[in-house]
Amino acid sequence: MLAAAARPDPAAADPAIAATADLTSRPRRAVLAAAASTALLAAAGCKGVGALAAPPRPAPEVALLHAAIAAEEKLIARYHAVITRSPGLAAGLRPLRAEHGRHLAELRSRLIVPPGSTAGAASSPAAARPPGPARGGGPAGPAGPAAAISFLQEAERTAAADLLRRLTAVSPSLAQLMASIAASEVTHVAALAAVRGGG
């Protein structure tokens, strides 16, 4: 009964593949996504073709999708930085980061990027930045495991709140994805507390 398009992903169904794929940008599945995504999104996303037919719901939805993608990239970069700086937390943080990788992949799959366009890349500056130790007020946040966990908790809360605030402005299908991702991120707050507690 879900409004979201069912789109089984063979690659994502394999844990071994997904465990490594979460940190790398997925190949553009524009054609697949166009087939599975809503007509509104397709019309709004294909700006090259959009000139030929008036899209019923243009920029706002795409802009919000770009914002959600950028937010996930930022979260992943923060996890990368904290894991690099505090290796003792890695075992607890990697599964959560992997879930963000899947959030990101799913959000990106809703974007329709015309071949040769740089619109998709332009929206995601964090993707181009190689993950590594952040210094001096970078995405790593404060030093020290306990402070780093608090930093990630706050980032999760903010990301979830942003998604929940925006989901009345998007299509039903994207709203469902955003609500689900927000719910996942809210549960990360408690999971992070368990990581801090040595759980």
Partner: protein
């Protein structure tokens, strides 16, 4: 706020249908947590009781919204059969996870509604169900409310801090 907004807006037929489905899921959860709680003790029992109350509150909210729209809320069944036999704390916790998954899925349908109030109520309850489910499960999932395997992996390994 959101509840008041939703209550004052007329419901489309589609919205009424998903609200009734969510109410049916809440009825099942209220019944199911009675079974869950009967097999738990201590902190786990306290958690089960709190979640049982949360589902009663959510049920009442849905019934109120439907009545305000002039609709008769779907009634609870006399009894519900658990998907698998419950004979101890492990199976009780498994049932709690199942109940929350079903509730989350039902509320995710509300998020597809046109009315902002219904949509926000759905999102809020998807989040609430995801929190309860993660607590019982002892780990998080990437896409609460979606059927396993529908988006990405069916499940993932989060932290291990489950109740009970």
């Amino acid at each position: 706020m959101a509840r008041t907004t939703a209550r004052r807006q007329p419901l489309t037929a589609a919205e009424a249908a998903v609200l009734q489905a969510a109410l049916a899921a809440e009825h099942a959860a209220v019944y199911g947590y009675g079974i869950v709680g009967a097999h738990l003790t201590g902190a786990a029992f306290t958690a089960a009781r709190a979640d049982w109350v949360a589902h009663q509150v959510a049920r009442d909210t849905l019934e109120s919204m439907l009545r305000s729209a002039g609709l008769a809320p779907v009634a609870a069944a006399v009894a519900y059969r658990p998907p698998q036999p419950v004979h101890g704390s492990a199976t009780a916790i498994s049932l709690a996870v199942t109940l929350e998954n079903r509730v989350a899925a039902a509320y995710l349908d509300l998020v597809a509604a046109v009315s902002p109030g219904v949509r926000k109520l759905g999102a809020r309850e998807v989040v609430a169900a995801a929190i309860r489910a993660a607590s019982w499960r002892g780990r998080t999932v990437a896409f609460p409310g979606f059927p396993p395997g529908m988006l990405g992996l069916p499940k993932s390994a989060g932290s291990t801090s489950g109740r009970g």
